[in-house]
Every structure is written in C-alpha cells, then in structure tokens.
C-alpha cells in the first residue's frame, strides 16, 4: 500500500509538472506554504495548501501520511492549514498535501515543497579531538579548523564556533580550539558560621587560601560562594561578623613621676612605656600628650632626666637690671636643655637587666598548685613588694563532628 502511494505521488507530480497545461498546473500543483521553511528536528511547521476549492486534505512527510485536515478556503475565504513536526536527519525533506488523498491516483490535487532540517551543534567541551570529530559526524556536521595543541592526546576542546545548540545547515563545519587540561578544580567549602580557625582548616584542606577581609568572630560572608568550583590555590575571602573593636584609652599624665611610677600608670591604662634617659630620673617629657586618646596597647614615649636641687649660688648683680635678668634666664634655659640632651645621649640605650639581676629577681615555678596541673607561677622580687603572676591552663575535650562528603 505504501509503495503504491509513493508511486502514485511521483506519477502525479511528474504529470502535474510536465504534462499539464500551465493553467491546470497552477490549479493542481500550486506552491505549498511552510512556516518556517527550515529548522532543527522537532520544529513545528504550519502547512497551508493553496487549494481553491474547500474540502479534505491529507499531509505527508517524506511520503509518510501525517493525517487529514480541512483545506481550501472556508466561508470567509481563509485557507485551511495543519501543523507538522520536522523530523529526520539534517537535510532536505519533502512535505506534500493532497486533496482529497494522495491515494486517489485519478484526480488528486497535489502541492509539494521542501523543508530543510538543520543540524544542532553539539557541545564539544572537554572532548578530545577524536571524540569531538565523532560527535560532529553523528550530528551531521564536520570538523572545521583546529587551533591549539591538536597533536597532544591529552588536549581537550576548550572553545568552539558555532556555539553548542546553534542550528546550522547539514554538513557545516565547526571550528574548535584545543587546550591542555589544567588542575582539577576544587569545591569551595561552606564557611559561614565557622570561626576563623575552622574556616582556615577547612580551606586549607581543600588546598585553598583564606583571606580575612575584615572583622572578628565567625564568618558572615564568603567569596566565592560555597559549592563553587575553583582552581587549587585560589583565595577565599571571608568577612567576619564584626569589625575589630578599637578600644581607645586616654594617655595618663606621667610628667614629673619616676620611671617606675610612670610604667605603672601607663600599664594600668593598657599602654606600654618606652623610656629613654637615666632610670633614676623623672619624666621630663612625654608623647603622646596627656589626655590623648590612643589604641590600647600603644606606646607612650617618655624622656627621663635627673634634675638637681635648685642652685643656692647668689647670682652676681645684674649689670643692666631687667635685661640682665632676661639674659640670665636664657642662659639657664640653654644649660638645662644641654644637660637634658647630654643625659639622653649618655643613656640612650634601653634599660637592660643583667642576667644576674634576672636570676636573682625573677623566679618561675611550674606545678606550684597540685590541684591545678600545669599551673605556673612567675614571681619578681624587686625594691617593692614581690609580684606573682600565675598561669592556669584550662583544657577542653572539644567537640567532634563527622561529615560525609557527597561526590
């Protein structure tokens, strides 16, 4: 039956195109409208025959019947149409509509035209050159130009034109660029909510590098996001929960105090004293100035100098009254400044304790408290009361979690 239909169709087409007068040919084999006229397999095609008389029609795809539909003009003059789905390999395919049926070998009205099934470019990413060629062949395409190390069997397709998914004519060429594969990417772990130490451990385990953008405490944000695939050695930037707390303290006024008193006052404010000058001296100058607010842990520089008792020598009578007094004051000020400079040069080196002094004054006792294993005492005996610094370790059994990795 199929064979008979096909023969009848061919006969009808040949007769229609060659044997009939021009006017009849237009009536019996007029152009068939396809919309669209090309597309990849699966495309829906609107098929509209241009028959002048209304009636029933049958449509076929490559000679295979695809159903009947009303055709010709309706009462409003609108032509009947049907829908076919493109199928088959890339290339030309024949769409035929007969009225009333292609089996009617006596007097069918036939319209026929071609639809071009386009090839869809496959994704060649990461394929070897040989595999890419085979995949193109299966898709009805051919390999075009090849750039990069095509001779290296380890090379993989890194880019292609046209891009995957594009519809092109059958037999079209696809150009590829080959590259050698890089390191295996690693997946960025989820760091949100972790402490910095945990985050660093997790990141290191993935051969990544942790960078803290700002803050302290637990991770609030991360970049790249968890689950991203990145190259080993990539930087994962995290933002911790809060910016570091800037504790500001006021610099105490230590002018006129001894070195020991100054150190105590500065340390009480959470600052560190840096003194220059004779240890037996008193503070002559300090920086920053008293009252200045600085970060806790900052240094306070002081200059020590030994200031002698006021001179009891009676000055010679001023030769010129007030002018002589002024000159005397200037000379006295110059003498004080020079004295301070000389003392500073002589004692520029920081105060250092000898090993003997340390041996005699600083004592370390480990395990001083049997109730607290690891307890340590550091004692310092000086001119004042003995100071005792105790250290108590507190161990933590820790928490363990086990996580299976889905790969």
């Amino acid at each position: 039956m199929q064979h008979r239909r096909a023969v009848a169709l061919v006969v009808t087409l040949v007769v229609g195109m060659l044997a009939l007068p021009a006017g009849d040919a237009a009536a019996r084999s007029s152009p068939l409208q396809l919309d669209p006229s090309s597309g990849p397999a699966g495309t829906s095609i609107r098929v509209t025959p241009i028959f002048k008389t209304p009636g029933g029609c049958t449509a076929s795809w490559d000679g295979q019947p695809r159903g009947s539909f009303p055709c010709g003009p309706d009462a409003n003059g609108v032509l009947g149409w049907t829908t076919l789905t493109a199928q088959g390999p890339p290339g030309l395919h024949t769409v035929t509509v007969c009225q009333p049926s292609c089996d009617d070998v006596d007097s069918p009205s036939v319209e026929s035209t071609s639809f071009t099934v386009l090839a869809v470019v496959p994704d060649l990413g990461s394929l070897s050159l040989a595999d890419a060629g085979q995949r193109l062949e299966r898709a009805g395409l051919v390999l075009g130009t090849v750039q990069g190390p095509s001779g290296d069997p380890a090379a993989q397709v890194s880019s292609q034109t046209p891009l995957p998914g594009a519809a092109v004519g059958a037999g079209s060429a696809v150009n590829v660029t080959m590259t050698l594969p890089g390191p295996v990417p690693v997946t960025v772990p989820d760091l949100v909510g972790r402490t910095q130490a945990e985050a660093a451990a997790l990141v290191s385990a993935k051969q990544l590098v942790l960078r803290v953008a700002s803050g302290t405490g637990r991770v609030q944000r991360q970049d790249p996001l968890p689950g991203s695939d990145v190259a080993p050695g990539s930087v994962v930037t995290v933002t911790l929960q809060a910016p570091p707390t800037q504790v500001l303290v006021a610099v105490p006024d230590v002018r006129g105090r001894t070195a020991g008193d100054a150190e105590t006052a500065v340390a009480a404010a959470g600052l560190v004293l840096r003194a220059t000058g004779p240890p037996a001296g008193t503070v002559q100058a300090q920086a920053p100035a008293p009252g200045t607010r600085v970060r806790r842990g900052s240094s306070v520089a002081v200059t020590l100098a030994v200031v002698g008792p006021p001179s009891t020598t009676t000055p010679p009578p001023a030769p010129g009254g007030a002018a002589g007094l002024a000159i005397g004051l200037v000379l006295l000020a110059v003498a004080v400044v020079l004295g301070a400079l000389a003392a500073r040069m002589l004692h520029r080196a920081p105060r250092r304790r000898s090993p003997q002094w340390v041996h005699e004054h600083v004592r370390v006792t480990a395990g001083a408290n049997p109730a607290q294993p690891g307890d340590t005492q550091v004692e310092e005996a000086g001119p004042g009361p003995t100071r005792s610094i105790g250290l108590e370790p507190h161990r933590d059994r820790g928490s363990k979690t086990l996580e299976e990795v889905k790969r």
């Binding site: 340390a267 005792s388 610094i389 105790g390 250290l391 979690t401 086990l402 299976e404």
Partner: protein
C-alpha cells in the same frame, strides 16, 4: 610533602611545632607578632621587662601543654560517631566470628577544642587567653574491616590532616599533611568502636553539624 607514618603517639603539639626552632620560642614569637603578648601584658603592671618576657614564654609553655592531644584519639573519637561503623561493630559483636567490610565513603572528621589560660596577678584573675585548636581529617575511599566490635583493618584510601592553632582570631600555627592511618592506628589490637554512648551517631542524612 611527606606522609606522616607514625608509630609513637603523634600529638598536636609535635604536629604543629615539629619544624623550625624550639617550640616555646616559636610560639612566643608568634604571640608577640600577633599582638597577643602586648594585650596580656597590658593587664600586668609594675613588673620588669625580663619578667614580662618570662611571662610570655610561660604562657607559650602552658599553651603547648594544652596541645598534648593524641591525633589518633581524635580520629577514633570521630569514627565512634560513624553510624555504619558502629552498627557493624554491634552486628559483629552479636554474631560470634562474623566480619564486615565497610566502605567509609569520603568523609571528614572535625575536632575543635577551645582551651584557655587564665592569667593571675597576685592571685587575682586579670586576663584570659582564649585558644582555638581545629583539626580536620579528610578521609577518602577508605574501607574498614570490623570484627568482634573492633576496627581491625583498613584498606586503600588516604587521609589528609589539617591542624591549626589560633588565639583570639590570630593564627599562631598551621600544618597540612597527609597521614598514613594504617600505620598510625593501633590496628593490631583493634580499635573498639562501641562506647555505649550512641547519642551522637552520625548518618549520611545527618551530617552532624
């Protein structure tokens, strides 16, 4: 990178401070560089610089003592929460002479410890140093053999160990190293997997965090 094949107990202390200078000096220098020493000493007024230096050294010494944690114990502790291993241990205990081979799949064991050191001045607590120790074992493609409730053999697979010591958000020491668990674990006598406490067993559906 060398693989650690250990017979003597491997502690976090030796893992983190086995390279470079003497551990106390190394750690004290890290604490100085990270600003931790200054913060602690800010709370201790009226002592000389030599005494201050000694305090920092002793803080480092005490901190190192908190790192005397056996790495193997941490792995075993993690596996004692592994649901399939523990279930296999119970079944092999129930059926005398039975043996099970368990695919441990890829998993990680994370052990986090937060010890701290209190600093007392003339008996009064004036400061505290909060420490954080994180250890992560990344185990891949390991197969365990369980017999009579004990893990007696490991096959294939590999394990990478990452350890980190931080104080108040400042990293003080870090180490990333493969570890040969077959050499590190006491498999000759077997590792008891059941402890009676099953409240924290993890299953694949409950990753445990």
């Amino acid at each position: 990178m060398t693989t650690i094949a250990t017979i003597t107990p491997l502690t976090l202390r030796t893992l983190l401070f086995s390279e470079g200078a003497e551990p106390v000096t190394t750690l004290a220098e890290s604490m100085n560089a990270g600003g931790i020493s200054n913060r602690l000493l800010g709370a201790i007024a009226g002592i000389s610089s030599p005494a201050r230096r000694e305090v920092v050294r002793q803080v480092a010494t005490v901190t190192l003592q908190t790192l005397d944690l056996d790495v193997v114990d941490l792995v075993i502790g993690g596996w004692r929460t592994h649901a399939r291993l523990v279930a296999a241990a119970r079944r092999t205990l129930a059926v005398s002479g039975s043996e099970e081979v368990i695919d441990l799949v890829s998993h990680s064991i994370r052990s986090v410890h937060r010890p701290y050191v209190s600093i007392l001045l003339d008996g009064a607590r004036v400061a505290r140093l909060d420490l954080e120790v994180a250890v992560v074992f990344d185990v891949q493609a390991l197969v365990g053999v369980v017999r009579a409730g004990r893990l007696v053999e490991l096959q294939g697979g590999q394990c990478e160990l990452t350890a980190l010591l931080a104080a108040e958000g400042v990293q003080l020491a870090h180490r990333h190293q493969p570890i040969d668990l077959r050499l590190a674990l006491p498999l000759r006598t077997g590792i008891q997997l059941t402890t009676g406490d099953t409240s924290r067993l993890h299953t694949p559906a409950d990753p445990g965090h």
